[in-house]
């Protein structure tokens, strides 16, 4: 098992290498001179030259790639053009808000999506099923930020239950932090929840047709027990897979949601960096977030063994 973990970790290295090179190469494959683009429309020739020298853009491309990869391996993502701080520091400052938001949304999505999916599969064709499916398809079609505004309009401006926007760090007050993040997390979880509910339903439908489920019901076990112990355990694998794949949606949505609710997370960092054309920051965020995504899917791969003892590595 340990050996397998090590092997898998090794396998992620080429993937991350490609990500690192791709993130770097973006700067060069896009049309136009990168230094000019980063300097902006009103820059003087000296400013452009300074940026070019600072980013090492005056050297040959392969040398640049080599330098960049060397830095990345040492955990150095360069410095922000705008603030002059190391990109890693900036990311560290902003990581908490995004992590809490993502986990909160994940909790809601799994906590609500899985039971909904199980229920819909169990009562297939009933109004519960139809309702869940309508929700699942429409949840997948709504723009996150629009839903966010809708929620703000109803729950903050209308009912005054929850704060409109902003963020309170966890260590200051856990409750205040969660209160601020509730609406964003609900908005963010919508797409993910829909995805999970749909996958759970489909997977459960497959399992519920099996003989051993009929047997379990026939021997008089309570439906709850059959559904959870017998059916869901066997239907869990695709659900867990979709949780991992869908995590990209969650991250993408977080960028947008943070912008709506003025949460100082990685998303805001990215958006601000784009406005300021602070390319090192954009590179750093894309790289780190992709790394987290790859890692999460690796963990999920390894979780298969826990969920399904038949799988051996």
């Amino acid at each position: 098992m340990l050996q397998e973990v090590a092997r898998r970790l090794m396998a992620t290295i080429p993937v991350m290498g490609v990500v690192a090179i791709a993130v770097f190469a973006l700067l060069h494959v896009t049309p136009g001179d990168p230094a000019t683009i980063i300097a902006g429309d009103y820059a003087t020739a000296e400013e452009v030259a300074r940026i070019r020298a600072r980013l090492g853009l005056d050297r040959p491309f392969l040398t640049q790639v080599a330098i960049w990869l060397g830095q990345v391996v040492r955990g150095d993502l360069g410095t922000s053009i705008f603030s002059g701080l190391p990109v890693t520091t900036l990311i560290g400052q902003r990581a908490e808000a995004t992590t809490v938001l993502a986990l909160y949304a994940l909790l809601i999505s799994v906590g609500v999506g899985v039971p909904l999916g199980v229920l819909a599969a169990w009562r297939r064709g009933s109004w519960v099923d139809r309702l869940v499916m309508i929700f699942a398809v429409s949840g997948f079609s709504m723009p996150v930020f629009w839903l966010g505004f809708l929620l703000v309009y109803v729950f903050s401006l209308g009912l005054g239950w929850l704060p409109v926007q902003g963020y309170v760090p966890l260590r200051e007050s856990v409750l205040a932090c969660l209160r601020h993040l509730t609406l964003p997390a609900v908005a963010l979880s919508c797409i993910y929840l829909a995805l999970i509910a749909r996958m759970t339903r489909a997977s459960m439908l497959g399992v519920l047709g099996e003989d051993y489920i009929r047997t379990a019901f026939a021997k008089g076990l309570p439906p709850r027990r059959v559904l959870i112990r017998h059916a869901f355990r066997n239907a869990a694998l695709p659900v867990v897979t979709i949780i991992g794949i869908g995590f990209a949606l969650l991250i993408g949505g977080a960028v947008v949601t943070e912008s709506v609710f003025a949460i100082p997370g990685l998303g805001r960092l990215t958006v601000d960096a784009i406005v300021r054309r602070d390319y090192p920051v954009i590179q750093g965020v894309v790289l780190v977030v992709s790394g987290v995504y790859v890692l999460i899917n690796l963990i999920i791969d390894l979780l298969y063994v826990v969920i399904d003892p038949r799988i051996r590595y």
Partner: protein, 253 residues
């Protein structure tokens, strides 16, 4: 299953009836006056008109992204699937690209390009290509062992011809389904990009732009955000339902 197909069929014409209006080169930037169906924005522009106009932008982006990523992805996938030597290298590249969340990749691309509809389309196509390539490659790998391909090969048919005549037709159904999903998600992401200020230039009335302008006026004029969002959600929903319908109809997977 049938219900989904019927529902998709019903919703599709509903969505198309909105389109003819968008094609009329009628009034733009109207000053505030009576009869604003969806209200008007801070410059007195009619939200209804702008929303209908936004349909054009969103559908153009959605359609163009779907077609472009299907064409490019299929071409790459076919080549990769049949030429084993390219396979390992290019698939590693594709894996790497897929590890970057699509919205972030699009954002990073937009940061480097000027905001225009064409550039938004490019920024949305790039993250989609690896997904199409993967789909096509998987089908090609299973098809190349197929008896009909082996037969053709035995008859001395060249590889390009095999790809076009024997492999491509089998791919039409899954690609069509994939295309509708790409179209739906591209429309959503276009709105995200515009909303974040990294999409189509602000003067173009895309749904994302209208909502981005409305964000400062949420408390005063909620309708600016509400209606384009309803349109976007309904359109994406309709396309997704068409996709589901096609999938069931064509029996993909």
């Amino acid at each position: 299953m049938l219900a989904v197909v019927v529902l998709a069929g019903l919703l599709a014409p509903m969505w198309w009836t909105g389109d003819p209006e968008a094609l009329q080169p009628a009034e733009r930037l109207r000053p505030p006056s009576a009869g604003h169906w969806f209200g008007s924005d801070q410059f007195g522009r009619d939200i209804y008109t702008r929303t209908i106009y936004g349909t054009r932008v969103s559908l153009t982006v959605g359609g163009a992204v779907a077609v472009a990523s299907l064409v490019l992805g299929t071409a790459l996938g076919l080549v990769i699937g049949f030429y084993r030597r390219l396979d390992t290298i290019l698939m590693r590249v594709m894996d790497g690209l897929m590890a970057i969340p699509a919205i972030l990749l699009a954002l990073a691309l937009m940061a480097l390009m000027r905001g225009s509809v064409r550039n938004v389309i490019i920024a949305l196509v790039v993250p989609e290509i690896p997904r199409v390539v993967r789909l096509v490659r998987a089908s090609v790998l299973s098809l190349r062992e197929h008896l009909m391909v082996e037969g053709a090969r035995a008859l001395g048919v060249g590889t390009p011809r095999i790809l076009l005549r024997y492999v491509l037709p089998a791919l039409v159904a899954p690609l069509l389904v994939q295309g509708t999903y790409i179209c739906a998600s591209a429309m959503l992401v276009e709105a995200y990009l515009s909303f974040l200020g990294a999409g189509t230039p602000p003067h173009i009335p895309s749904w994302g732009n209208i909502m981005a302008e409305g964000r400062s006026y949420v408390q005063l004029a909620f309708w600016i955000i509400l209606f384009p969002g309803v349109f976007l959600a309904a359109t994406v929903l309709a396309i997704n339902l068409v996709g589901d319908g096609l999938r069931d109809l064509l029996n993909v997977r």
